[in-house]
């Protein structure tokens, strides 16, 4: 379980957000560009510091402004896939996926098995020795997903994970994410613009608007655009 209550002053507005993500469930974050979705993920990951608030993961505080707790990103055990996938271009597919396992000092024999498993599941095994810099957008995205899955994080966060994939792959990857989250019984937050993606994969949907939660409910009932447009 993840509970986030944070505020952070941004350039145009103040992000003021309260989120709860339940184990085994997928929480979908929706909203216009610049509504604060990616910033929220960055705050949870520990890459940006909120001005105040607290983040509690499985009963443990990983951030608390009052108590001065701020666990660094490398110790939060969160699998985070960025919007542009950020597959390390100088490393092979295998080394990309092993990166987290090596950083967390997982024994080599165990790590090798897990790397193989995830390459197989994401159908990139034949690319094992290829440097990620030369891959297509969709392949990079698969590498990034495998890399996030392999260290078995306590929370999964995916920023627009389907944009680079083709229709068939999207279906497979959605299935993979659902199974992973359910089997490992961890919470998952997915940022997406697409109502269809949200309905397919989400258990709960949250619509953000200028840093505030505007709506929360079932993904099948997400209302149309409700964010008051800024008048030019």
């Amino acid at each position: 379980m993840l509970e986030v209550t944070v505020t952070r002053k941004l350039r145009d507005f103040t992000l003021e957000i309260h989120l709860t993500a339940h184990p085994g469930k997928v929480l979908v974050l929706m909203g216009d560009n610049g509504a604060g979705k990616s910033t929220t993920l960055n705050i949870v990951a520990g890459l940006h510091a909120p001005d105040s608030g607290s983040i509690v993961m499985d009963g443990e505080k990983i951030f608390d402004s009052k108590e001065g707790i701020d666990v660094p990103p490398e110790d939060r055990n969160i699998g985070y896939v960025f919007q542009n996938s950020a597959a390390f271009p100088h490393l092979t597919v295998r080394d990309n996926i092993a990166f987290g396992l090596r950083s967390q000092r997982v024994p080599t024999s165990l790590a090798a098995g897990r790397v193989d498993l995830w390459m197989e599941k994401l159908e990139i095994k034949d690319l094992a020795r290829v440097k990620a810099g030369g891959l297509s957008g969709g392949q990079k995205q698969r590498v990034a997903l495998a890399r996030a899955f392999a260290p078995e994080p306590a929370l999964l966060m995916l920023d627009e994970p389907f944009t680079a994939l083709d229709a068939n792959s999207i279906r497979d990857v959605k299935m993979l994410i659902r199974t992973y989250v359910a089997e490992r019984h961890i919470p998952c937050i997915i940022v997406t613009h697409s109502n269809a993606d949200s309905r397919d994969i989400g258990d709960t949907a949250c619509v953000l608007c200028r840093g505030k939660k505007e709506w929360e409910g079932s993904p099948s009932e997400v209302p149309g655009c409700m964010c008051p447009r800024r008048s030019g």
Partner: protein
Amino acid sequence: MNVTRAGLKKYRQAATYSLAAALILAVTLYLALPVVSLFFRTTPDLFFTSLADPGVSSALWLSLFTTTVSLATVVVVGTPFAYFHSRTTYPGKMLVDTLIDLPLVMPPAVAGVALLVLYGRTGLIGRYLNVFGISLAFTTTAVIMAQIFVASPFYLRQAKSLFEQLDPAYEQTARTLGASPLRTFLRVTIPLTGSGLIAGAVMTFGRALGEFGATIMFAGNLPGVTQTMPLAVYEGMEGNFNAGLTISILLVIISFGIMIAVRLVAREGGFRA
């Protein structure tokens, strides 16, 4: 009518091509001829004889030693400096940026005088160092200090812009995967900027190797102590012309090698997605 127009077009095209060819030839010759003439002025025999001249070899070794130390210092101090500089905002950052660029436009002789005024025996800092028996001016250390002052901007500017351009998502992903800041820097940041950093380092090495003005002002021209290759060329011109010529040729060969190295590294690089 049509025939004349077609003829005119052909004539214009020919004129353009000839002009282009003449320009390319003129520029190439202007740059290449002086360098080539160096090689015509000597014979292999003469070249190798003066290579054995103790003055020549000591200048060669002093140059290689000082430029290597200068380069190592610039890379070891400059890489983390450029990283922090590009990733943080602090008051006076603009001023620091300007100071980094300053040695590029400042006459090297002025840089040498400035170093002398600061570190010399009666200099602002030098007079206090002198109390402890430390004297920097006119030593091999002074040669290295002059080289670092004049040549470091090539590396610093390059490193700064590489770090600024690197997509932060790579480093951030590495952190979320459990890598410490140091591991992230060594395993992600450095490999992704490596080829550019090497190109910057090679340019710094080349500039340090050719350093003359600041060195002669701050370190003097003492054979075996501060007389680097460019200074030895200068002295050679006043007496031992062949030695000067031999060192000049050596410097040309090294510079050429440096430029080729930069080209190769630049072509190898380009991992950025």
